[in-house]
Amino acid sequence: MSPRLFLVACFAALAVAALAAVAAGTILIDRNLPPEVSYVSNIVIVYGGGIMFLLVAIIAVMWAYLDHAVAQPLSTLVRNIQTILYANPEHQIEVEDAHQLGALPQAVEELVHQLGVARTRVNEAIAEATTRVEEQKRQLETILRELHEGVIVCNLNHHILLYNDCALDLLHVGGQLGLNRSLFSFTNRQPILHALGRLTNRLAGQEAHPEGLTVPFVCASTDGRHTLEGRMGLMLDVEGNPTGYVLSFRDKTEELAALGLRDRLLRESTEGLRGPVGNLRAAAEILVAHPDMAAEEQAPFKQVVINEANFLTTRLETLATHYRDVITSHWPTTDIYSANLFNNLMRRLRDERHLEVVMTGIPYWLHGDSYTLVEVLDMLIHQVNQHSGADTFDLEAVAGERHVYLDVIWKGAPIPAHELDTWLDRQLEDAFGRLTIRDVLEHHKTDVWSLPHRETRAQLRLPLPPAVQQGAKRERRRMPSRPEFYDFDLFRQQPDLTEIGDRPLKSLTYVVFDTETTGLQPSGGDEIISIAGVRVVNGRILTGESFERLVDPGRVIPRDSVRFHGITDDMVKDKPPIHVVLPQFREFVEDSVLVAHNAAFDLKFLKIKEEEAGVRFDNPVLDTLLLSVYLHDYTQKHSLDFVAERFGIEVRGRHTALGDALVTAGVLLKMLDVLEARGITTLNQAIEAANSIVEVRARQAAF
């Protein structure tokens, strides 16, 4: 019951009681009047009624006053407190002016103020702790993500609490492992239980185990196709009771299979050859020891010699083929990106002023031991420098049929094979175990040789196996490409009348570029989120001279587009806006010829921002898509993927702006050769060829 209602009830009761008392009194007096004064009866009744009326009036006035000065302010105060508690901590307490609550409102106000201060402190402390936890969590996530081992954390019921991408790969699960699912949906049960049992026993035991609270384990994926090897570690709470465990593991399947194969090959090449060699030897000895044997007697022995020799030949070929595929090595070989390898090498050589090293071409993935390969290349470059005096080198990766070649190119003559051979026995300077170049080559099952390179240059060529491509991560998802985009007005370029237009295509400097955008509508609010370019000079892709920026588009990146480019709002959050990046790109471009695949699309985005950024892109433009249509009009397939495939350019790392720019640069270089063969040698001719295609498409579009 509210205070006001209570007050009403009290006063109502009081009024009723007072009325009843007066009424009872009046009736009593009236009844007991002596007959001689009965004439006053009316007067008594009138007085009684008057007193009752007066009493009710007094009670009503008292109620009204108390309600106004106490009950109402109390309710107001309660509502105020409720507002502060549940809605607005900043709310100021307002109570009716004429209240009779004394210092209560001020006391409550003070209380509220103190509460507010305390609340703020608590919130601050919580926020700080949250930030710290978030930061630690982020670090942990980074570590987990970068680990080349699978990591899974489970509670004691074997429910998965946490895992990293690598675990996903190793367990060959598409999509998600699913938190809180049982680990045993993915691995077999017994080895895990066994390892956990060992650990809990160890925890209960008195003496500390030298390995601490971790044990090695080997288990299999549930389908039995993959063997996983790793360690299990126990997780304890503050009181030292186990709460769960961490598994870190690798896939041993290939390694174990390779070891098994190698053992089998060894066995077959020893035991397996004893028989045939024995037969061969016996037959040969008999033929020699008995020269006077009759011809028909000799014939079967000769047949044995031929048969066994043939058998041994086939056998040897099989063994050799199998051995070639055995990729066991006690070396820590991994997939390496050639650009990273070359960058490491260039960093080492940077201090040596007399050597200039430039990375060119499209980078490729290969397989090997990065450290010793860098050592070997470093040493070979120094040897070439001493031998020939060459001091400027290009580093380029080239995709061959079975290998990725690492080429070191310089101006001069190839190194004679006998000279090169003597270099191979030199020990590497910083390598462990007194390795020679030859050792490293042998470990990689490869060799090195020197060849002429184009007219006046020479190269060292080092073949290496291509990347193994473990896991699904690096597998290229063939993503739908952008629709062809035409802006016919933009693209009817006038032939360039300046001197540059008549210069040979191969002598020009190009910037091949690509953008990633929030969508396909440059005029409909879509924005650039990434722009990258690479310089091409004298038929060389200068991989090291590239431009790559993420751009804050100033709008949300649609989820649909993220699957094309993988760039999220978070990634562009702190990046500069387009009006900052575009002038930088303008500076990078200088007066070179701009090249892009489906150039009208990218150029439209640039043009729209020209005014805002205060720059102009009036460079001549070549579109590899239009040129592809011009050169290969027999097909409709002119997306970058198809064009690159047609020119034999391996496509990796696509759908990043730089990745696409590099592939387009590779396409451009191949195209220049084909264009030349078609009689198109100058920029103006190339622009005319492209224009002719635009005309055709414009006419098609008109129908």
């Binding site: 030949t313 040897l316 050799a320 290998h403 006998h418 040789w449």
Partner: protein, 124 residues
């Protein structure tokens, strides 16, 4: 005039067979036992075809091949590398340095003879 073949090989056991086979096929055969001798033989009179082992003393087969290809007069010489190195990389290296063909040991003597006959009849 009979076509001439230079066998560059240091292992007498296989020289024996190669020499016999090539003579049987009607070619003029010379033998060199190491790289330097091979180059001297080529210099004195260029053969039509060389059967070139890779693992020979002094200058190895790759070196001999590269040296021969560096001389414009010797571009026509057909070079078949005969080798116990059977890896892809070795074949790649041999062909890159100027060999026309690459045959790994052990090989069929009949196939080799047929191959040589075919090449030298085409060249005629």
């Amino acid at each position: 005039m009979a076509k001439s073949i230079l066998v560059v090989e240091d292992e007498p056991n296989i020289v024996l067979s190669l020499q016999f086979l090539m003579k049987q096929a009607g070619f003029e055969v010379r033998v060199a036992r190491d790289g330097e001798e091979a180059l001297r033989e080529v210099e004195s009179r260029a053969p039509d075809l060389i059967l070139l082992d890779v693992m020979i003393p002094k200058r190895d087969g790759y070196d001999v091949c590269q040296t021969i290809r560096a001389n414009p007069d010797w571009q026509e010489i057909y070079i078949i590398m005969l080798t116990a190195k059977g890896r892809d990389v070795d074949r790649d290296k041999g062909l890159s340095l100027g060999a026309n063909d690459y045959v790994t040991k052990p090989f069929s003597t009949r196939d080799l003879t047929e191959k040589v006959k075919h090449i030298l009849s085409d060249a005629a």
